[in-house]
């Protein structure tokens, strides 16, 4: 909240990412996340959203990927050369796609594992904080995480990330495979965490409508590039976004899947 407005919390400058030394996945991605904000990163599958998040959190290396060009700065410090553990210590934590809880650890052990970097002895208190946001988890604190339902696992994944007391949380598709009601609940909590716990959020989503409803700014990725950005109103009013992400035709009317069956419009920015 105190950071000067001209210096964003996170700044990604024109990065390129290469996998296995040959496959170019990101071709010059730049984005900024302001202190205290929620930024949404939208795009199709394979556009490079997850890769961007992993480049920030340092999780590329185990997948044999690396940042070959550009820089990533967090609070004015270069982090693209750092490894994942150091980045977490700086205050960036990623909630990975597909939940990825430690299945054989209990709920509470998962949370304790999330607090691995903490050395301040406040873990007990933070456990209560997480249970406050996710009362369901408290009830199932001694259950192996592998036996939790999908929604509970997603909550656990967010709660576990919260345990590291992050400044910036990278959320990768928190709505994936969840029922609409649960999705709404999760997004609710994301907003509350942003407001009450002052956690800045960078959110990757398929569910563009949902994401733009809570975000303060949005980027759209396609094919390893940022192709559009702007505040939610601007994006929501963009023809292409309406067409391809919101499923709305120009007049704001949703098109039936049966109708689009034999008719497909080409994307304008690619032609």
């Amino acid at each position: 909240m105190v950071a000067a407005p001209e210096r964003p919390l996170l700044q990604v400058n024109n990065i390129e990412v290469v996998y296995n030394g040959v496959v170019l996945v990101l071709r010059g991605v730049s984005l900024q996340v302001p202190q205290g904000g929620i930024v949404a990163l939208l795009g199709a599958n394979g556009a490079g959203k997850s890769t961007t998040l992993k480049a920030i959190s340092g999780l590329l290396r185990p997948e044999r990927g690396e940042v070959t060009k550009g820089s990533i700065e967090f609070m004015g410090e270069r982090i693209d050369e750092k490894d994942a553990a150091d980045i977490v210590r700086l205050g960036i934590v990623q909630v990975m796609e597909g939940r990825r809880v430690f299945e054989h650890l209990t709920t509470e052990e998962n949370l304790i594992a999330g607090a691995h970097i903490r050395r301040d002895g406040q873990i007990r208190r933070d456990l209560e904080m997480v249970y406050h946001y996710f009362p369901q988890l408290k009830a199932r604190r001694n259950v192996k995480a592998g036996y939790l339902s999908g929604g509970e696992q997603q909550m656990l994944a967010i709660g576990r990330a919260l345990m590291s007391r992050p400044k910036l949380m990278l959320l990768d598709e928190p709505s994936l495979g969840l029922a609409p009601q649960l999705v709404a609940e999760i997004f609710d909590i994301v907003v509350r965490l942003n407001q009450e716990e002052k956690v800045t959020m960078l959110l990757v989503e398929q569910n563009a409508m949902m994401a733009l409803q809570i975000a303060g700014y949005g980027y759209v990725m396609e094919d390893g590039r940022i192709v559009l950005d702007g505040d939610p109103e601007k994006l929501l009013n963009n023809e292409d976004i309406k067409e391809f992400y919101l499923g709305l035709s120009a007049v704001g009317q949703r098109k039936s899947y049966r109708e689009v069956k034999h008719y497909k419009r080409r994307k304008r920015w690619l032609s």
Binding site: G177, L178, A179, P180, Y245, K261
Partner: protein, 262 residues
Amino acid sequence: MDEPPLLDVQDVHVSFGGVHALRGVSFQALKGEILAIIGPNGAGKTTLINAICGHYHPQRGRILFKGKDITRLRPHRIAALGIARTFQNLALFRGMSVLDNIMLGRHVKMRSGVFACALYWGPAQMEEVRHREVVERIIDFLEIEHIRKVPAGALAYGLQKRVELGRALALEPELLLLDEPMAGMNLDEKEDMARFILDVQEEMGIGIILIEHDMGVVMDISDRVIVLDLGEKICEGKPEEVANDPRAIKAYLGEAVAQKGR
């Protein structure tokens, strides 16, 4: 005298480790219709599919396919009878090419034994070629010619889903079970997938059971909808009926979706 329904699920109970995933679910699926199953997470949708294709065996109840009891059959037998499925979290054979993945779908249709395979001579070779033709038709249909020889694991998510559909189609099934075929897709890809599903229904006359969270898709393309909650069927009917059913709204849809669907 009457032709039996394509699939007849009668009072199926499944539980594991004390958790009752399904408690007495009954329904019928008809030839050539798209039947959607919706419900909140943990409602037992995937368990139901797993029970139909033999991965789980119900503790109680029966499942009939074209009048034949398949409750206790092992999955590969059920597949051979003509039930194919796709998976919620992709289950392609990552090491194999797209072509081989779909060829594998032809497995139950092929007869070559060990020696024929080892020699790869005469009938065995002819058989491979014959089935290759079928597979090529499916590849054409799904518009994935360009990735024929790419290892499945290296494909983008949406394409993998499409290949998985192709693999299921290669079985020449009469009943196709699709477990969240659109999860994690953008609208563009969803439209493609919806198109393929409708084509499958129309051109091949295959009965489809569809699990999907995207209400837009469900409401648009399904002929009938079943709502599951906590392992029980709470309502069934045409999409618009279900969308207005208070039980369904309460359990799953929520007010907003119900309105949107209208």
